[in-house]
Amino acid sequence: MLKVENLTTRYGRIEVLHGIDLEVAEGEIVSVIGANGAGKTTLLRCLSGVQPISGGSIRFRGEPLTAAPHKRAGLGLGHSPEGRQIFTNLSVEENLRLGGYSRKGATREDIAEAYEMFPILGEKRHLPAGGLSGGQQQMLAIGRALMSRPACLLLDEPSMGLAPLLQKQIFDTVEELKARGVTVLLVEQNAYGALKISDRGYVMETGRITMSGPSAELVADPRIREAYLGV
C-alpha cells in the first residue's frame, strides 16, 4: 500500500528525517511510536505532501507519490493531522462535507455513517465545530478524513490530550476501521495503546527508525518496555 525508502526532509538547512524506510501493507495497522520531537508528525506531513521531501521516495499503491498535496486525498490517502485541525468556524456537518471535497463533497450516506460511528457528532451536527470538546474534535477529525473514503489513513496522535476512557474509544475506532478494510498508519506517543491494536510497529528517535517488528514483539522488548511503556 505504502512504501517509503530512504526518505529525508529538512526544515531550512537542518535535516530532520535522516533516511526513513517504512512499509505498510494493505489491511494492516502500522504504528510509529516515539518521543516528542522524534519526527513522527514530520514523516506523516511528508507523506501527505505538505512538507516537501529532500530525498528518497514514497510509493503509494505501487505508483510513485509525487502529486500536489491537495490531490493526494483524491488518490486515496487520508490524513487526520496532529492537533485535529478541524474547521472551527464551520459546523460539524460542514466539516464532514468538506472532508469529501476530493469527491465533490461527502454524500449523505457517508455523513450518516460518520454519525453512526460517532453518535455525539450527529447530535451536534449543526453546531460550530470550534465549540466541541477535545475528544469530539478528534472524532470529527477522524470522521472528516474518512469522508474521502481513503484506502490508507494517516492518523497523527489521535489519543493526544484525551482522558483514558476516550483514548480507548479512539483506539477501538481505529480497530473498527481496519475491520472495514482501511489501512492505517498510526503515529502515537501512547506507545502501549498503539502497539496493542497494531500489527507492526516502528520506533522513531531523532529522525531515524531505530527498531521495527511485529507489535507483539515490540511490546515484549525490554528496551521498549523501559523507554516507552514505563515498566
Binding site: V50, H70, A73, F87
Partner: protein
C-alpha cells in the same frame, strides 16, 4: 417628507456602492483573513477602463465587460505578485502590502490612463423617475439592484455551495484544507478574481453618477471598509446592511445637518456601534475551545 425620501434615495445609492465595496472585502477576508485595501482601486479601474473602452468606440455593455474582465486579471496579478510571495507573513504585513498595491495601482492608472475626470452616459437615460414626490435617477436603481444581486449571489455561494465552504475552510485552516483536497492556491486566485470583479462592477455602475478619476479608490475603500466593519467583517449580510446604513447616515446628515459633518456623524455612529458590539451588527462572536 419629500425631502426625507429624497435623502433616503441618495443615501441608498451611495450606500449601495459602499455595500459593493464591502462585499468585495468579504470574499478576500473570508479566504485569507486579509483586508484588501486595494479594493477601492478595483472600483476605479472598473470605471476608468469602461470609459476608455467606450471612448474608443465600443458599445457600453462591451466596455463594461472588458473592464470587469481586465480588473479581475489585475486582482489575480495582485495575488500572484504581491500576496502569494508573502505567504506565511503575519496578516497585518499582508494588509500593509495591499495598501502599497493600492498606491501602485493608482500611480499606474495615472500613467496608463490620465488625470482627467470622466463620465459615460447612464444605462437607461438621465430622466429622473418621480416616486412619491421625490426623484431617483434610473442609474441609482441600477446601482441598488447591482448591490442586491451581488449580495444574493455571494450569500448563496457561501451558504449553499461546496466551493463557498472551501473558501471559508481555506481561511480557517489552510493545512487542513489542503489535506481534504482543497487547492488553496486556486481558492486564493478565485477570491481575488471575484473580489476584483465585484469592485469593477461597482465602478461600472456608479461612474455615470459620481464620475471617475484615477484617485477615487482610496475614499471608496475607506468607506467600504467602514461599512464592512459596521456590519461585521466576513458576512455578506453585514456588508450589505453596513454599506447601506453608512450611506443613509451620510445622506441624512448632509441633508438635515450639514454636508460638512456627514463623514463625522457616520464615523461616530460606527464607533458607537463597535463599542457596544465589537463584532459588528452581524459578526459572529469568536467562541472557540482550544
Amino acid at each position: 417628507m419629500d425631502a426625507f425620501l429624497q435623502f433616503v434615495f441618495s443615501g441608498l445609492t451611495v450606500g449601495a456602492v459602499y455595500a459593493l465595496v464591502a462585499l468585495g472585502f468579504t470574499i478576500i477576508y473570508n479566504a485569507s483573513d486579509v483586508v484588501n485595501f486595494a479594493q477601492g482601486e478595483f472600483v476605479m479601474l472598473g470605471g476608468m477602463i469602461t470609459w476608455f473602452a467606450h471612448d474608443a468606440g465600443l458599445p457600453l455593455w462591451a466596455a463594461a465587460l472588458i473592464a470587469i474582465a481586465l480588473t479581475s486579471l489585475v486582482g489575480v496579478a495582485l495575488n500572484k505578485l504581491a500576496i502569494e510571495p508573502a505567504r506565511g507573513a503575519p496578516v497585518i504585513s499582508i494588509i500593509i502590502i495591499t495598501i502599497g498595491a493600492s498606491i501602485l495601482i493608482q500611480g499606474a492608472a495615472q500613467l496608463v490612463f490620465d488625470k482627467q475626470i470622466h463620465r459615460y452616459p447612464a444605462f437607461s437615460g438621465d430622466a429622473p423617475i418621480e416616486v412619491m414626490g421625490a426623484t431617483i435617477l434610473p442609474q441609482s436603481i441600477w446601482v441598488i439592484l447591482g448591490a442586491l444581486a451581488v449580495f444574493v449571489a455571494l450569500w448563496l455561494f457561501f451558504t449553499r455551495t461546496l466551493m463557498g465552504k472551501a473558501v471559508l475552510a481555506t481561511a480557517n485552516n489552510r493545512l487542513a484544507a489542503q489535506l481534504v483536497g482543497i487547492d488553496t492556491g486556486g481558492i486564493m486566485t478565485l477570491s481575488f478574481a471575484l473580489s476584483a470583479a465585484i469592485g469593477a462592477l461597482a465602478g461600472v455602475l456608479v461612474t455615470p453618477i459620481t464620475l471617475v478619476s484615477y484617485d477615487v479608490g482610496v475614499a471608496l475603500a475607506l468607506k467600504g471598509f467602514a461599512g464592512a466593519m459596521l456590519g461585521g467583517m466576513g458576512n455578506p449580510k453585514g456588508a450589505l446592511v453596513g454599506g447601506l446604513v453608512l450611506g443613509l447616515l451620510e445622506a441624512l446628515t448632509a441633508g438635515y445637518l450639514s454636508s460638512q459633518y456627514k463623514d463625522a456623524v457616520a464615523f461616530i455612529v460606527i464607533l458607537g456601534v463597535l463599542f457596544v458590539m465589537p463584532q459588528g451588527l452581524f459578526g459572529k462572536t469568536a467562541a472557540e475551545r482550544v
